[in-house]
Symmetry: C2
Subunit: 208 residues, 2 copies
């Protein structure tokens, strides 16, 4: 079996799909465009993934794979016995970089999070399993930190609200980017001041 070619075209399809889906959304993205970007045949998607929908499911799986944050998590790592404030700050910094750091090809925010945003606007049937398998564990980590910080159990209502508030704050520039980019006079983008934004979220959070 042609193993090398196998994983190559399949991988190429996946990466191309991430880009095209992020740019156009599921419905507007065509498998022809994806295949063209991946330099593969039109039938490649159906051969390797079965259908356009399954390819999208694979993209979602790949998108919310936790291993991609490992590098960033190391970069902002603090000791496990550091004060809660510091660990909370590290958490925020890590994810802000994860969301807004360019991965090299596009001028806007990371493709993965563009897809995430589209799932929030028009959820697909895959979102159910996505929340259960990936996102809820994300939220669990944050809840633990907030719980420790506030000194109340993780199931407390206040912890849930605060965690969601922190989580939301990190997405706000991503959400509003289409508007802020069209403001005149133009405003600087978040990406150019990532540290400042992180500090802003952190101080705002610890104060509230």
């Amino acid at each position: 079996m042609n193993r090398t070619n196998d994983v190559n075209t399949k991988q190429a399809l996946l990466l191309a799909a991430v880009r095209v889906f992020a740019k156009k959304g599921f419905r507007a993205a065509t498998v022809r465009e994806i295949c063209q970007l991946a330099e593969a045949n039109v039938a490649a998607v159906n051969y390797h993934f079965g259908s356009k929908d399954s390819l999208y499911a694979a993209v979602l799986d790949h998108t919310f794979d936790l291993e991609k944050t490992e590098a960033l998590r190391e970069r902002f790592a603090v000791a496990d016995d550091a004060p809660v404030e510091d660990r909370l700050a590290a958490y925020i910094r890590t994810h802000i970089h994860e969301i807004y750091a360019d991965e090299g090809w596009s001028g806007v925010a990371s493709d993965h999070w563009a897809i995430f945003l589209m799932e929030m606007a028009t959820p697909s049937p895959h979102l159910d399993s996505l929340v259960q398998d990936h996102i809820q564990s994300y939220a669990g980590d944050l809840r633990a930190l907030v719980s420790e910080f506030l000194g109340v159990p993780p199931t407390h209502r206040m912890v849930m609200d605060a965690a969601m508030s922190i989580w939301s704050q990190m997405f706000d520039p991503l959400l509003m980017m289409p508007i802020t980019d069209r403001f005149r006079p133009p405003r600087p983008r978040v990406q150019e001041n990532l540290e400042a934004f992180a500090d802003h979220v952190i101080t705002f959070t610890l104060g509230g």
Copy 2:
């Protein structure tokens, strides 16, 4: 000329379009479904609006028409010479109700803001004029309030950031609803505690 029928089917098409676009997005929405909901013919869209795209443009115009907030603005009105905190609170309360108050047909947030969210996820060409004509004036009102509250000129960087932060906070439950709705155990929706959420945003804002 058949005036009554004229405006009726045109209006019915517009309202149906709002609902269908809000539910499925521009691309996935079909003019056949819109016409069916409006109890009109398939050709009605092209006759009255020229094209599906122009219909969508009309929907956007209708969506961000400011007159719809008039009723709410009166409901939460405070005197013009009231303290800035009160006017800011009124502003926040008004828009939170505007965003999350059901208009009677759907279980989720208002259709107009669902469309807004989709525009943030995958902006259409119409967004440019939309920001200039409607949204920027929205933002201007808020900036004036924040400027007065902080005691710095409206062009100051801090005012911009704070205004955007307030604006974003109001949208956060809308943005995260697809996730929170899928959490288990289920969490109560924002709509059921609108006042509490408004108070939360207000206190959080005035503190920061």
